[in-house]
Symmetry: C2
Subunit: 499 residues, 2 copies
């Protein structure tokens, strides 16, 4: 730990981060009225996101920005400043940071780029800013970041104007534009966020620091990381292993291959000497390593919403045979078992179905229109101690096809009243809603995950948040996504059971 203290980190870092991520006052230094400039995007995002604290635009030219009077220098603000988000140009940063020190600002997020990622001169300037900040006990995130989001504090201080709901997933990304887009996906998919940090060049605060902070952050239960480099390999192994035991850590490493490394070197200015260390860290620490950005989100949706499966045996419920076949294949290919079901389940489900149904797992409900049957089938499987998880296909998502059918009938069948068609549509919509709610209850009762596959590109998100419930149903569009997620959850459970 001596080494860590040498680098200036201590329990103080976590406290400083806590203050930075929960500020009462925020200054935007370099605030602007020019749409598309960072100083404009950050300011308007904070305001449109209804930050409950006070916001102070700082702009050397003064004037009014978004209806607020701006300040020429941070020192002109009379109130103490918890967080300064800095978008001023790189060559002004020495002065800006000095002013922040003088003002006693507690923490900074430096959006500005043109530092270590841009060459030797930038590297020297970056080091100087770190020294200045450290001397003033001021914490600095970045530089070269796209900002932070703290939904629980009502603060959305990033360039992208997506504002995902409050939740339990924390996301640390070394790449700004990748982070931006994934935050947008999280919003679209209904994934609740506890914190987003664009960690940028990590001149002062590294991934390991964020992990330590998140370990004790009460809002965070799942952590996703996009990393191109590790500045402190040994510490990263130690910290991530420890954190991963209580909060699953899902990692995408950029620069795994030669082509990726070349690309990454000019991107975050990171050295890749430690990439062997990194690979080892993931394995040893039981981290959940993925190979695509979309997987980060798919997995975070599941880990933050579902109970962990206690084994690899899967029950499959499908409205139609083909999807069952495909899903069973995919389960087998990911080392998940699809066990045969016992006679009592065959009898119970069979009492609802025509005699030629499959009588097997996958349970093919042969397109039944009886709304009870899918519920019975899923519950019978969950009750049975022969499966650890259930995948259900096509039950939620069918509404999209019902809507198309209703629209056709409206066009061509004068014999059907419009109100009858509206009733059909709303019954199908309500059924899906009730099914989703029921899945949440069944998961709470049996503590086994039910993973839904909608088969449709519905406008609703992956996570169907159920207020006040311990678990939340998730619906992926494709079986391969559902199977992949389940396989990774099983691996994580096995790692935890072993270690």
């Amino acid at each position: 730990m001596d080494d860590l203290q040498d680098r200036g980190f201590s329990t103080g870092t976590a406290a400083s981060l806590a203050s930075l991520f929960n500020p009462r006052t925020v200054a935007v230094i370099g605030a602007s009225s020019v749409i598309g400039k960072w100083g404009q995007m950050i300011l308007s995002n904070i305001l449109a996101g209804r930050f409950p604290g006070k916001t102070f635009p700082v702009n050397s030219g003064g004037g009014t920005l978004c209806g607020l009077s701006s300040y020429k220098r941070i020192q002109d603000v009379t109130e103490p400043i918890d967080l300064a988000v800095i978008t001023a140009p790189a060559d002004a940063l020495r002065e800006v940071v000095n002013e922040c020190c003088e003002k006693g600002v507690r923490g900074m997020v430096v959006i500005t780029s043109g530092f270590s990622e841009a060459g030797e001169e930038g590297r020297r300037l970056e080091e100087e800013l770190v020294s200045l900040s450290r001397a003033a006990q001021m914490i600095m995130i970045g530089p070269n970041t796209m900002g932070i989001l703290c939904p629980h504090a009502g603060l959305f201080a990033s360039g992208a104007h997506s504002r995902p709901r409050k939740g339990t997933v924390a996301f640390v990304s070394q790449s700004g534009n990748l982070g931006t887009q994934l935050i947008h996906w999280a919003d679209q998919q209904g994934i609740g966020i506890s914190l987003f940090v664009g960690s940028g060049n990590e001149a002062m605060v590294t991934c390991s620091d964020y992990l330590e902070y998140l370990e004790s952050d009460p809002h965070t239960e799942t952590i996703i990381l996009y990393m191109e480099s590790v500045k402190d390999g040994h510490r990263f192994i130690e910290v991530s292993r420890r954190v991963n035991r209580s909060k699953p850590v899902i990692v995408l490493k950029g620069g795994r291959t030669e082509a990726g490394k070349v690309a990454s070197a000019s991107h975050t200015g990171a050295m890749h000497g430690e990439s062997a260390v990194f690979g080892a860290a993931c394995k040893q620490a039981g981290l959940i390593e993925v190979s695509a950005p979309s997987e980060l989100l798919d997995l975070s949706a599941a880990f933050s919403s579902l109970p962990l499966p206690r084994g690899n045996r899967v029950g499959i419920v499908t409205l139609g045979g083909g999807w069952g076949v495909v899903t069973a294949d995919q389960c087998n290919e990911k080392d998940l078992l699809v066990p045969d079901i016992p006679d009592h389940i065959v009898r119970t489900i069979g009492s609802f179905l025509p005699p030629f149904w499959s009588r097997r797992n996958p349970i093919d409900l042969v397109g039944t229109k009886d709304p009870q049957v899918p519920l019975v089938a899923v519950e019978e499987l969950l009750k049975w101690d022969g499966v650890d998880a259930v995948i259900s296909l096509g039950i939620v998502g069918r509404h999209e096809l019902v809507q198309l059918l209703v629209q056709s009938v409206r066009e061509v069948d004068p014999g059907v009243t419009s109100s009858h068609l509206s009733q059909l549509e709303s019954a199908s919509r309500e059924y899906e809603k009730a099914y989703v709610a029921r899945m949440a209850d069944l998961m709470a009762e049996y503590r086994k995950p039910v993973i839904g596959v909608s088969l449709a590109r519905t406008r609703e998100g992956t996570v169907r948040h159920q207020q006040g419930k311990p678990y939340h149903p998730v619906f992926y569009q494709t079986p391969e996504d559902a199977v992949n997620v389940l396989a990774r959850m099983v691996q994580y459970h096995e790692y935890k059971a072993r270690s």
Copy 2:
């Protein structure tokens, strides 16, 4: 070929299929007014799809259906019938088929299930129907199918009411409900369809027959297959190898694993004795085998819209570094090369960018707002004989983030006029449209594929069809989809070059 004639197939089969897929008159036998019944769904779909020929509902109870007088028996229709779509119950089918024979119906699509997939009795009935039909020289698709779609003939005779646009992709699926959903995806993704056939139990017409038909179908350029079993393994190898040389054949085999086989046995009643033959066929014939339904669509979008790459060297253009890194990694992992770019390209692109840009492939445009730069970068790469394809990320799709920004400004900045914001929005929308059109022109000029990654889940489809152009830009949401598609195109090109 003797063997084929023994089984009743000849060049006559292709002619019969051509007539069946381009009917002037269609009867729906078992037509119904009960919403959700097959006889209702098929009839309303044909009518709502504005079939240009004549439609005759046949229902033993008579009466009016969708505003049309129905016929009690097919014989009551005075006009000749090219196609009968049959939804009557299985136990009525012997009589129905006899009536069709008597009437001289040219072809049947039998939706009804409960045949060989349901047991021995069903298998015997199925064989009997085949004999009856053969004797009357009447071709039969199915039974146990969800129907057919023939967009070029204006005929949508399936249970699902998605109506993808006319195009060049033919899709044969042994599973009805998988086919249904994929057709819906094709519609959402803007993939144009030449033909969809739910081949069902393939009692008379098999996948090999459809392939032979599609080989000479002028509308079809790409073929996708979902198969759980092969009835005529040797012939399938011979036919698919031949067809695949001129029209890429993309195949998903259901029942690749033990669990999948078990599921499939009770689904289509298929025997899996020949699954070894099948695996061999795919490899020998150079078929493009995939492992997930979504891949069938992703690949068909690319193969039907883009020129084939003539090698595996990829240029990457990205608005931000992280996505470039991730894409380069994924290329390397799929055996695609990301070569370094020559000085003249560095100079040309560099003249538009700040000095700290990557100067490398991936070309990171460091978030440039200059609308010309992405176009210049893509064209410089296409011109250069050092790459065979270009992947461009985030240029189309950014509009979604622009919209969010504009919405925030509208809410919080009284200093900006509404008309200025509308202008910004429409300029960004128009730019993306112009970019898409330009990509179509560049592909026509340089005969190399440009694969777009939108990074956004836009409402627009994967394929952006450009009327009258030889190639059509495609945009996937994620780099992994784009890279996978490109890698499979490269493999196909290599196979063709070798064979």
